[in-house]
């Protein structure tokens, strides 16, 4: 019996050895990973443009800018045919962005504020996104992290070859986009007061495209898109006030004609709403971010003027 048991033990040990030992696997060499194509992102020989971006935006503010075409770049809901930007537009456009957006905020609120709040990633596209019904899209933002700037090939600033007054449209739209998206990041970090949401809830509509920018002030909005929802109302108002300056806002209010709009807004109501929006924004900037909005406005507007006129 004991002999039998010894046999058994021996057999079990042998079988076990066979089972576990026979299948040798190659160990993985981590250095092989270097062969994986595209690991770590696209690479190319750096040009003067790449160096400029690195020195001016990436190193100081940790903002990365991609201007080379990438089919797999996430462009949010854009499905239109696009083309990459012209190289000669990259540095002038980004330089203008720096003057009109980065420098004024840093001057008013300091570098730590800006570095903490800024979107970290810009993707530049040459053409606008042509949509249905003759609409075009000029900018898109993705969750406070990434801003997609379109229509770069049209965005000329003063000093570029062939610049003329009609080109201000594109540059202003781009400044507007960036300030719009940056304001979104601000209120997504600390929300604006409920009072702002209570100003004109019944006038907010996803059918904002039914209205024109010319009609919008009569209902107390700076633009038609501001009617989209409270968040957009808030950031559109900020962006328009910053880009166009305080005098523009006063002129806008002064230009509202007598009478009642289709949606029942009187001239007095429209003016009162725009004034309330202005004061809520000024207070919000002061209380939440310790920024003097009017001073910021002066800086942004004079930068816009310097870039365009």
């Amino acid at each position: 019996m004991s002999c039998m048991k010894r046999w058994m033990n021996l057999i079990v040990v042998c079988a076990g050895c066979l089972l576990f030992a026979s299948c040798e696997k190659d160990s993985i060499n981590p250095a092989d990973a270097d062969n994986i194509n595209g690991l770590g992102g696209d690479t190319w020989t750096a040009t003067a443009i790449d160096n400029w971006i690195n020195d001016t935006l990436t190193t100081p503010y940790n903002i990365s800018v991609k201007y080379k075409w990438d089919q797999f770049e996430d462009v949010a809901d854009i499905t239109s045919i696009l083309v990459p930007p012209k190289e000669e537009y990259i540095v002038p456009v980004l330089s203008a962005v720096r003057q009109v957006w980065i420098n004024p905020y840093i001057a008013e609120a300091g570098e730590p504020f800006f570095k903490k709040t800024t979107p970290k990633y810009f993707y530049m596209i040459g053409s606008p996104a042509f949509g249905p019904n003759q609409t075009i899209k000029l900018g898109v933002a993705e969750g406070g992290k990434k801003i997609i700037l379109l229509a770069i090939n049209y965005t000329k600033v003063k000093g570029m070859a062939g610049y003329n007054a009609a080109d201000t449209f594109w540059a202003k739209e781009m400044f507007h986009t960036i300030n719009h998206e940056f304001a979104h990041i601000l209120h997504q970090t600390v929300l604006y007061p409920q009072d702002f949401k209570n100003l004109n809830p019944s006038l907010l509509t996803t059918n904002w495209t039914d209205y024109t920018d010319e009609d919008a002030p009569r209902d107390g909005f700076v633009s038609a898109y501001a009617m989209n929802n409270s968040d957009d109302d808030f950031v559109e108002t900020i962006s328009f006030m910053l880009i166009n300056g305080r005098q523009w806002f006063e002129d806008l209010i002064a230009s509202i004609p007598d009478g009642v709009t289709d949606r029942g807004t009187t001239k007095e109501q429209a003016i009162a709403r725009l004034r309330s929006k202005e004061s809520i924004i000024v207070n919000y900037y002061k209380q939440v971010w310790n920024i003097d909005f009017y001073s910021l406005q002066t800086r942004v507007r004079s930068a816009v003027v310097a870039q365009l006129y």
Binding site: I36, W44, W69, F130
Partner: protein, 439 residues
């Protein structure tokens, strides 16, 4: 018991004999192979000292020539035959090779190649939002060889073929010597609509459409059968090349080169189909589509539609010979079959469309009796009268145009595409109108 144990032992041995198959189909990993492939394409592209001649066939039609010179630092220089400026101004932009689903070549900042893809219709005359349906991201086809690289567009599937250029071509293309107007200049010296190419005694009618980069060849072969070939064309240093060759027995016409005008004989001398050839003006085509006039007329008559021209008559080498574009607020001219009835006569109208405060208006035009379609393939018009009141500023243009329609002998109709016809005067083939179908 021992039996079972032995069985267990045997089974254990059997199961544990795990042999790994080390015979891979390839002896390198996929990553190593893709890197190798990209490296090979890179050295092929940038290794060509004199660069590449490239022809791009966008999905949207036509053919476009590019001269491309790649370096090994992601830069590419190019000229293109898109317009006369892009042909003589070298533009540098960036490119990169990347493993997408296949090894791919991406022109990743804007240059002439993107002009064709630009969704802004005002850039390339294409459709809004789509351009000319071209590509700027390509994958390498399997059939790529040392001196030829074949590419396919990743979005629209456009085709591009690169062939190695020689040093002489490189110098010419990069020093502003690419003149895309060469062919046009020579052809415009022939005043007749019909251009007859003759190679070794065989005639071919050639109709070039520079706007759509297409050309139509008509010829009769040795057996007397009629052939028509519509193909794309592109400009080259010395002439034009064709997307698809004309093959007539032993004659293969792939390009026209060395064009020169001989004023003594009113002939273009050139090289085509492997030998000397001539192009002369003729007043009647080799092959006449005798049903074309009626087809042209019925196409719009059926649904009460009309044909449109902007330039009006081209006469003796002059576009808009009667200055109808000078008529105040002029938009375009229409030919509208069975436009109305006067007494018992139904008439066709050659109407002038002007733009006034309310929009487009048809305020005056020349009325013609129902056209006469002859058995030999002509259409003749006979003037009935004037509809509306012709403004004094338009009188001269109106008179000349309305009389020209009614000219003796009438017109041939040449169908140049599904939606375009050219109406050519039978008498001398030196007057014509290009009609397009706007619906």
């Amino acid at each position: 018991m021992t039996k079972y144990l032995l069985l267990f032992f045997v089974v254990a041995v059997f199961l544990s004999a795990c042999k790994k198959n080390e015979d891979h189909v390839f002896d390198q990993t996929p990553d190593e192979r893709i890197n190798q492939a990209l490296q090979n394409y890179q050295s092929q592209l940038s290794g060509a000292q004199s660069g590449w001649n490239a022809v791009l066939y966008p999905k949207g039609g036509g053919a476009y020539f590019f001269y491309l010179k790649f370096n090994d630092a992601n830069r590419v220089q190019m000229v293109s035959d898109f317009d006369s400026a892009s042909a003589v101004t070298v533009k540098e932009s960036s490119y990169r090779l990347k493993a997408l689903q296949q090894p791919s070549l991406i022109f990743d900042t804007y240059s002439y190649i993107h002009v064709l893809s630009d969704p802004d219709a005002s850039v390339n005359g294409g459709t809004l939002g789509a351009g000319l349906l071209s590509d700027f991201e390509f994958y390498f086809n399997d059939s790529t060889s040392a001196d030829t690289i074949k590419l396919t567009g990743r979005v629209n599937g456009s085709k591009m073929i690169l062939t190695k250029a020689n040093a002489e071509q490189a110098t010419s293309y990069t020093s502003g010597q690419f003149n895309i107007n060469l062919v046009k200049e020579n052809f415009s010296k022939i005043l007749e609509y019909f251009k007859r190419l003759t190679i070794g005694g065989i005639g071919y009618d050639v109709i070039i459409d520079p706007l759509n980069k297409t050309v139509i060849f008509n010829w009769t072969d040795a057996q007397g059968s009629i052939h028509t070939l519509t193909t794309t064309f592109y400009y080259t240093l010395n002439g034009i090349g064709f997307g698809e060759p004309v093959i007539n027995g032993g004659t293969v016409i792939t390009e026209f080169t060395g064009l020169s005008w001989s004023s003594g004989t009113n002939t273009i001398n050139l090289t085509a189909g492997g030998g000397p050839a001539t192009i002369t003006g003729v007043i009647k085509p080799l092959v006449l589509d005798t049903e074309a006039p009626r087809r042209w007329w019925l196409k719009v008559k059926t649904n009460d539609e009309y044909w449109v021209t902007i330039d009006g008559f081209h006469v003796n080498g002059v576009d808009d010979a009667f200055n109808i574009k000078q008529i105040p607020n002029y938009s375009f001219m229409v030919f509208w079959p069975a436009f109305g009835t006067s007494g018992a006569t139904t008439y066709d109208l050659a109407g002038f469309i002007t733009e006034d405060s309310t929009g487009l208006a048809l305020n005056f035009g020349a009325a013609y009796r129902a056209p006469n379609f002859t058995a030999d393939g002509r259409v003749t018009f006979s003037l009935l009268g004037t509809l509306g009141t012709v403004p004094p500023e338009a009188q001269a243009a109106y008179d000349a145009t309305s009389a020209k329609f009614a000219q003796a002998g009438g017109y041939y109709l040449i169908q140049t595409s599904d939606i375009t016809y050219d109406m050519v005067a039978v008498s001398d083939a030196r007057s014509w109108i290009s009609w397009f179908y706007p619906f």
